[in-house]
Structures are given as structure tokens and as C-alpha cells.
């Protein structure tokens, strides 16, 4: 069935591509003047790019619970594009944004809008995993070059991998995997209870932690504490289900509002103090959560993530200060970094193919080849999974005299790559 879609869409696209190639042919023969007369170019001054405009469809949430993430990612993108004068490969880059919102129906509409109405050359975005997965067949069928800028669902690097979809953010497996080893071996905490929001990301993160944790001699204790997602009710019963006296600590996957309400309740009830260790995927204590809960923060929590505000590298410190300057004091976060890197991948790939995106395979190959030093460290793609290969930092939550509550890097696992199955 999927083949049928693909075949149909291929045919459709073939017509389009032919026209473009024809156009390009005309361009080389008759020269730039004729092309400009044909219309369709946007020339910005004598030194500006002369090639056709490169339209990037950005599908990110600007309303609903994930709006904050969408804003950060967009800011990150904008910042990088501005830094290269919004052009690459002799093409002017224009961002066309559409609101992903929360529900798949809206994400599908937003995707179709940028693809069909704005005729974009490429799509980037997707915060929520179901939305990325739900648009996957459509984008894949159209052979639309796509960069996933957040959604972490493992399958996009595995069974549902597409030759046209690469991921610049992470797979849910990645940030959790080294934490299992670290907790069991380096911290020697062998009895851990799992606490997570029960949805795709939470389940995948916990499963990944379990893999390495048990392999390193750890035991999972007690019944898992699985909260509904999102949990709009009281967190007390879930906090009380943590068996503080039987365990060395917890591994937790929660983010955003859930993390805020859960940690606050755990602090109030004194549960946090009784826990030997709070470990988790970094989202549990990312800057957005810490800023909201302030002194209810779990002091000394050990979490894994592909970035930290305190990374001392020049790239990172540069990024943080410029970001805050550009967006009126807003603090950089991991999502902004993902947006920044997504934009950089696009720019470098465009430069590599000299703006020729009509050859889809060539353009995708150029994307696959991109590698650079990101604020988060070394950035490259895994040719097998189309997922980013990156350093996972083990961080410790501390109160810094200058930054307030933040995460200090205490160890790192370079080159963590999703296993692909």
C-alpha cells in the first residue's frame, strides 16, 4: 500500500522536477538576465544571491503546551541563518513557518500548507513524536528533504527511517543510555525505581536506561511509578509511591509542566531529601524547569543530555551570549541549540551542492556529510540511522552563584549513536 502512495507521488513529483530542470537548463544557456526576466528570483542587491529562492518550511508549535519549544527552536534557526546573511549556495533562504500545535490533525495541516501551498524546498521542525511519525509517510512519499529538530521517537532512526528524513536532535534512546552505566558503575547505586510520564518518550527513555543499568549489575526495584501524560491532577499519590526506604534513588523521565509539578511536590513532601539519587534524562531538570521551580530543584540530580548551559567550549559560550543578546535577554536552551544546528546543516549542505537541490539524492548525501563543531560538541550524522551522533553529557544540578540553578557537566560519553534497531 505504502508503495502505491509512493509511486503515485513519485509520478506527481517527476512532472515538477522536469519543469525545474528545464528551468535550470534555460538558466545556463541564456544567462542570468533572461532568468531574472522570467521572474521567480529575489535578488537582494548586487552582492546578493542570484539563484532561485530556497524556501524552508518550518513546522513547529507556536501555540499549545509545546509553544515554548517551538519558539526556542525557531529562534535558534533564525540566529544561524542571520549569521550567514540568510543565504547559502547562491540561494536566498526564506523561512515559512506553520503552527504544529499539539494534535496530529493540526500538524498534518501545517505540513501540507508549507508543502503544497508554499511549495517549499525542504521541511524542518516537529516537536512532538506522534506528529513527526504521523507526517513521515507523507514527507517520505514526496521525497521531501526533512530535518527533525526535536521529536525523539526511536523508530524514525529504526524501522521508520526514511532516506529523506534526518534528525538533528536526538533519539529517546540516546540521552538515557549512558546514564544507566554511569549510575550503576561510577555512582555505584544499584537499586533504582523508575518514575516516568507514561507516553512514547517516557517509555523509550526508561527502556534505554534499563538496558545499560541492568547490564552493569543494577536492579530495578518496586513497581514503576507511571504518571498519566500530561498529568493535570495532583502529583501527591505518585510522589508517595516512591519507596524511598528500599531504593538508592530513582531514574525519571518527565519534562516541562509535568516535571515542574512533580519536583515541586516531591520537594514539599520531603521525598527529594530522602532520595540518595535523582537521575534521569536531562529534560527533567532543563533550564525551563529549573527556572520555574527555583529552590524546589533537586540538588545534585544526575542527568544525561546532549547539551548543558555550562559547557565551557568557546562555541557554546559564544552561542549563549549571542542568543541572549539577540532575543532580549532570553536564556539559551537545548531546543535553541537544536534549531541552531538544524539551520547550520541546511546551510552547509546547500553550500556543498552549490544550491542545486533538484538532485534529491545529491542533496541528501550532502546533508549526511555535514559535520561541524556545535555548541553541544562534535556534530555529525550516522549514515546508517540518519540520526545525529553526539556527546551525551552527564550533568549535575547545582545552584551557581551567577547562573542560578543549572547543570554542571561532570562526565561525558562522546559519539553516542542510536543502535538503529
Amino acid at each position: 500500500m505504502a508503495d502505491q502512495i509512493e509511486r503515485y507521488l513519485d509520478d506527481r513529483l517527476a512532472g515538477q522536477v522536469d519543469r525545474r530542470e528545464f528551468l535550470q537548463f534555460g538558466l545556463t544557456v541564456a544567462g542570468a538576465a533572461v532568468f531574472a526576466a522570467c521572474g521567480g528570483t529575489t535578488s537582494s542587491g548586487p552582492s546578493g544571491p542570484t539563484g532561485p529562492e530556497f524556501k524552508l518550511g518550518v513546522v513547529l508549535p507556536y501555540s499549545g503546551v509545546y509553544a515554548e519549544l517551538g519558539t526556542s527552536i525557531t529562534n535558534g534557526m533564525r540566529m544561524y541563518f542571520d549569521s550567514v546573511g540568510n543565504q547559502a549556495g547562491n540561494r536566498k533562504i526564506t523561512m515559512v513557518t506553520a503552527d504544529e500545535q499539539v494534535a496530529l490533525a493540526d500538524a498534518v495541516a501545517a505540513t501540507k500548507k508549507v508543502v503544497e501551498q508554499d511549495a517549499v524546498d525542504m521541511v524542518a521542525g516537529y516537536v512532538s513524536s506522534p506528529n513527526a511519525a504521523g507526517n513521515r509517510n507523507y514527507l517520505d512519499g514526496l521525497k521531501m528533504p526533512t530535518l527533525i529538530a526535536n521529536a525523539g521517537v526511536n523508530s524514525l532512526s529504526r524501522a521508520a527511517r526514511s532516506p529523506f528524513i534526518y534528525r538533528t536532535s536526538f533519539s529517546n534512546w540516546q540521552p538515557a543510555h549512558p546514564v544507566g552505566t554511569y549510575v550503576a558503575e561510577k555512582l555505584n547505586k544499584k537499586k533504582i525505581q523508575l518514575v516516568y510520564a507514561k507516553y512514547g518518550a517516557g517509555l523509550e527513555s526508561v527502556a534505554s536506561f534499563k538496558e545499560t543499568f541492568i547490564a552493569s549489575g543494577g536492579t530495578i526495584v518496586g513497581p514503576d511509578v507511571a504518571t498519566p501524560f500530561p498529568n493535570n491532577g495532583d502529583q501527591t499519590p505518585f510522589v508517595q509511591a516512591i519507596q524511598t526506604d528500599k531504593i538508592d534513588g530513582i531514574y525519571s523521565f518527565m519534562s516541562g509542566t509535568d516535571a515542574v509539578t512533580f519536583l515541586k511536590k516531591a520537594a514539599e513532601l520531603g521525598t527529594l531529601k530522602k532520595l540518595g539519587l535523582v537521575s534521569g534524562a536531562g529534560f527533567l531538570v532543563e533550564q525551563d524547569v529549573l527556572a520555574a521551580i527555583q529552590d524546589a530543584a533537586p540538588d545534585g540530580a544526575v542527568t544525561g543530555l546532549h547539551w548543558a548551559l555550562t559547557l565551557p567550549s568557546k562555541e557554546n559560550q559564544d552561542f549563549i551570549s549571542k542568543y541572549s543578546k539577540k532575543f532580549s535577554g532570553r536564556q539559551a536552551d537545548v531546543f535553541a541549540v537544536q534549531g541552531f544546528d538544524t539551520a547550520r546543516v541546511i546551510v552547509e549542505a546547500l553550500n556543498a551542492v552549490k544550491g542545486n537541490t533538484d538532485n534529491k539524492d545529491g542533496f541528501m548525501q550532502a546533508i549526511a556529510n555535514v559535520s561541524f563543531k556545535s555548541p553541544r560538541g562534535d556534530f555529525k550524522f550516522d549514515p546508517a540511522t540518519h540520526n545525529v551522533v553526539q556527546t551525551i553529557y552527564i550533568r549535575k544540578t547545582v545552584k551557581d552563584s551567577k547562573l542560578g540553578w543549572t547543570n554542571q557537566v561532570i562526565d561525558q560519553y562522546p559519539g553516542v549513536a542510536d543502535p538503529g534497531k
Binding site: L104, A105, A110, G134
Partner: protein, 316 residues
Amino acid sequence: MIRGRFASARNAGLLVVLVLGLASIPLWAPRFWIYIATQALIFAVFAMSLDLLLGYAGLPSFGHAAFYGVGAYACALLALRQVDGLLPLLLVGAASAALVAVPIGALSLRTTGIYFLMLTLAFAQVLWGLAVNWTSLTRGTDGLIGIPRPTLFGLDALGISLYERGAFFVLCLIVAIATFALLQVLARSPFGRTLEGIRENETRMRALGVPTFRFRFAAFVVAAAFAGVAGSLAAMSNGYATPDFLYWTASGLALVAVVVGGARSLIGPLLGAFLVLFAQLGLSTYVERWELILGALFIAFVLFVPGGLIGLVRRT
């Protein structure tokens, strides 16, 4: 009487213009807008089915999405298990929704007014909870994805398929017209008249020996079946079914479409569905402050166009 005939002639005229206008959409509209119009048509089928309850039977259901969702999931589950064929899938959507409506209707219809509204909401939310939690069947909040569209009675051998540009739109248009016609006939029939009689004065109808409960119940199940058809269309059209289909916001949106369009007219909900969907999907992809605009639009509607769109048309 003359006025009535005049109005119905005008309605018929409006209808013809509407159908012709809609049918021409695939010829000129860009793909994205065909897609939006398709969604609007599906939503219109859903809204019209609600109008049978709300407008004609006077039953304000706030859980109509339950049947939309059940239809969608039934269709999705079968289509994913290699069941092909347009009619069987639509019928399954209708039948499963009607089946679910039997117990819900039997229990809900013991109440009226706001209590009926809340009870239907409650049942829909229970089903939503089921869709979220029964992960082995529904895949939870991730939803069922990759649902194929059915082939058309062997027509695909001739190269006609529902993946063609505008083809699915035409299908939805046909279903919408059929729904409209069937519901219209139903509303004008003695059955429909009796429903209206019950709405206006139940005690009197009961005194006349009309088994009012049975009439309401029948209306409830029929409306559910049409909602189920809309749900299966939605599943086929987009290739997914998620718990959002069953959530109260979907019921609420349908209510809004009916009220904005003007209840008890069937055309009204159709127009309302278009307005709401274009506002929601269309606006949100273009403007950032779309919620504000949509909200203001609703407020303005209530204040200045109390009869709904259809009232506006009738007045001018």
C-alpha cells in the same frame, strides 16, 4: 405557506449553487485548499448528523465525537488488517458507531437538557480514556497511523484511485450530499415531524400515545451512524486515527459548527463546518494569533448573528 415555499425554493437555489461551487473546487483550487475543503466536508457530515440531534430532536449532545471516533477507529483497524473496499469500510464505520450508540443512547436519553449534555460528554470521555489506554489495540496517544485508502470497486485497474488529485474530495462531496439528502428526507418525514413535536412538547406527544423514548433513541442511533461514516472518511483521508477524534474538543467544535451555521437546517451546519474548519486549519497555518481571532469571531457571532449563518442568508 407561500413564504414557506419561497424560502424552500431559495434554499434549493442556495443548495444548487453550493454544490456546484463545491464540485468545481478540484478544478481550480490549489492542493492545500482542496485538502482543507475535504476536511471541511467530512466535518460537515459530522456536524449535520449532530444537527439531527440538536436541531430536530432538541438533544444537545456534547459527546457526539464518541461516534466519530469509534467510526474512525473501526475503519482504521480493519483497513490496517488489509480489509479493502470503500463501501464495506464506510458501513463498518456506521455500524460500529450505531452499535456503541445503543447502550449510550439507552442510558443518556433518560435525562434531558444539561444533564443529557453532561452524560453524553461523560460517555465520550470514557471512550477517549479507553482509546488512550488500550495501547495494544489503539497504540495510545500515538494513534494508528499509515491507514491506506481503499480501492474503488476495481476501478483502480483503469487508473482511477482515491489518491488522485481531488478524487477523495469528490468522494467526500458525494457522501456529504448523500448525508444531506438522507437527513433531509428523514427530517421531513413523519419521523422527523414527530421528533420536532417531541422537542416542542413532549408531554403532549406522549399523551397522544407516541412512544417518545423510542423516537429519540432511533434519532440518536441514526445520528451516531452518520457520525461514524464521517469518522471513517476522516481516517481514510488522513491515514490516521488518534484519541483526539474522541476528545470533548471535537464534540465542542461540532456544536460550534452547528450553532454558528444555524441549527435545524442541515445547510447551516454544513456552512458552519466550512467556516470553523477554514478558520481553524486555514487561519492557524497563516496567523500566529489565530486563537484570539477565532474567539473574537465566535463572540461576534453570538452577539450579532444569533440565527447563525443560515439566519443571515434567510434574512437578506
